[in-house]
Amino acid sequence: MLGDLGTAGLTAGLTSASLTVLLWLRVALLGAPARAARVATVVTLLAAALACGALEAALLRRDFSVRFVAENGGRHVSVYDTVTSLWSALDGSLLLWLLVLCGYAALLARRRHPRRLHAYAMAVVGVVTTFFFALSTLAANPFRAVHPVPVDGPGPNPLLQQHPAMGVHPPLLYLGYLGLVVPFALALAAPLAGVEGRDWLRIARPWTLAAWSALTAGIALGAWWSYAVLGWGGYWAWDPVENASLLPWLTATAFLHTMLSGAVRHARWNTVLACASFVLVLLGTFLTRSGAVASVHAFTESPLGPLLLGLVLLAVLASTLLAARGDPAPPSPRTPPLLSRATAVLVNGVLLVTIAAAVLIGTIFPLLTEPLTGARTNVGPGYYQRTAVPLAVAVLLLAGVAPAVRRAGDRAVARRLVLPAVAALATVAAVGLISRPGLPALVAFGAAAFTLTGLAGQLGSMQRRRRGVRTVRLAAVLAHAGLALVAVGVAGSSAYGQAQERTVRTGETVRVSDVSVRLVAVDRSAGNGRMVVQARLALTGDGSDRTVAPRLWYDTARDTAVTVPRIDTGVLRDTYVTLLAVAADGSTATVRLAVNPLVGVLWLGAALIVGGGLLAFAASARRVRRRPPPSVPVDPPTALRVAA
């Protein structure tokens, strides 16, 4: 019953999404009124919502006749985990994906933008929507009936049941990924829309900022989840799924900089980066949804691979063909001096594109080697540490230089950089003489000091500015300071982190620097389809004594063990205790005790970046709303005449 409703929703969505494309094309090509197209867009959203709602209801009512529920539901699963299990497996997550995509389409449809630019962009979004509806309906329908109806299901992947962040992480990532469809659609529409197209960057900016902020938050939450649940002690493993989220983030970051109003000359860059960001989203979807790369949290193998690869190719083809039609915005006649914001933005773009290239080739390398050599060769973190990390430090340094060169042709640049340089040298000298963090970490500390000092100087000079400008500047300062803090957190935790792993009897201790844990007891309990072993440990350190209880879960239905660490979060360092194994008779436990300094700074930095992004979004959305688009002739023939 719910299954039929869901399938009906998907079919209706497929039909109305196809109609949406055609109706918006009618608006663009034939000058038809946009009303019908808007209605069709909203209907598509409703269809996606219906499908999502039907699956959610089936999950909550434990209707095991629906395939997805039989595979991912379970009677023992809590309500929160049941709700979030919608996106714990491939087919259900596609529905959420569709819902978010249709939401963006409906929001974009409501806006009053130059008519042809808007209509072409909507048509592009419609094609993407149609494709994913077709995928969900025809290739991965979660509503197919199961026969015979099972009495119970295995429940969602136990790894995903462990952390409340799992409820927010995928939706946020999807908000980020799919928001990038708007700049992509506008970039493709701009050359088609003629003179109207010149306005696309201004329209794209708030969308890009919103998507970018969500993507940043999603990546940060994913790292936090990895740190707090996976229990291996780190937050970033250069895992294919993590890389897939990083890739569009890198190009979108570059795009956010090249699109800045003063840099209209970078028209080609803008088109290429906007297209690349969404193509990388699709490529990441292909990599993680097709089972092409193995990963801790990749979805299992599915038949969607070839279809998604086809979509990636289609997107590349469309962007290449359309970008070839020429820049919609005329290049400005003046040549900027070498030391200018335009240069800084371009260097930033070059660096980020290079990082993206390194991460991309590292991620798809196993796929490339397999047909050529017969064996999969995975690329380890060492490769990224030698390619992406130094480039990222260069980006950070650039973020410190850029505020100093904000005025073109300014002689005072060198003088403004003296104080940051002194701060950087002092930091490097102090840290390098006191401890041995290793070369990359030391340079990162220096670069962070350089950038933070430069930003502080900018913060001081901001009082003199107009309010609107001030908000935008403040947003940039926040985001760049966040980047510096992230660098400090990453460098600090990887350079000064200490860990000790030992098998101990009751009463014995594990010690790391001044922190120690003593095994008090091992408790076991079973039930609800899982076995839970918990070690009670007395933690001594930081002048206080507490009891921590890391756990080891064993999920019988899926035959998976999950280690749940206990993290004692401090201002400057975390104490991280994991239970790795327990002897059969409970007499000994293998415990890992780690002290991870400065991880808190990393999360603070990520929060600042997101805050900066949101602030910039608010400012640019207000600007788009306050300043109506320049009046543009309505019917295409007139537009043609104007263009000619």
């Binding site: 077709a134 290739a139 390098g432 043609l640």
Partner: protein
Amino acid sequence: MSWRRLLGVLAVAALLAGAGTGLLRSSAPDPDTDPVRTIAAGLRCPACQGESVADSQSPIAAAMRQAVADQLARGRSPAEIRRWFVERYGDEVLADPPARGLPLLLWAVPALALLGAGAAAVRTLRPPRRRASAAAAVGSAPAGVAARRVWWLSCAAVVALVAAVAVVAGRLEDAQPQAPPADPVAVTLQLARELEQQQRYDAAAELYRDALRELPDDGVQLRLAFALLRAGDAAGAERTAREVLTRSPDSPDGLLVLGLAQRSTRPEEAPQTLRRFLTVAPRHPAAEEISRLVDG
């Protein structure tokens, strides 16, 4: 030169010297670090994704750390140890695989990206020459009949897109029939076994009956018989075991359950059934126990 100026120069020089020393100190290998950890950090854990042997908690990684420690204790050099691992696990055990052949791509692609993007950036910064005409070329919207034709073409393209997905999806479905990852009967059986471990034999028997309705199988039926026996329903166990024995009269487990059930229902027949069990399956794990029971 004023005193202040001199002081400034001295301060900068001191800073530079300090920073230089710090950097030098950091680039030299730390004498305090554990050599096992240094070597293990350069090896990739074969059972994990992207983790080094030093960081991974997988048992294989722990074993590899132990192997490194053993060999260091025997006085082997780090290079020898690495070679020893490469012999066993191949080049990909190294965190930094040697850059020859295909791995060269890993360095060539970022280098090319850097060059390409750099060239594009330089081009963007150069004064525009003869490129101003590009803007005039855009905005070529088809009009009238042409526009209508384009629209019809788009209709066909959208239909083709959906049709393509349908065709590919259909072919894929044929190519790899999706076995339901969680076989419902298997889940039921799993749950039943768990209940048995918790000594809730009644509930387990109930689930085994459920499973039997979906999948008539002697093995499941025997588990049901065992569960009934443990739940204290010897008559039910006997009946169930007999059903199996009518189909396969020499089933050892069938004879075993029947014999054990008969010990409470009709004790006079039990030894005979159990002896038959012993002749059919003398090496059954329960045989020793049963022979003690029968002879004792």
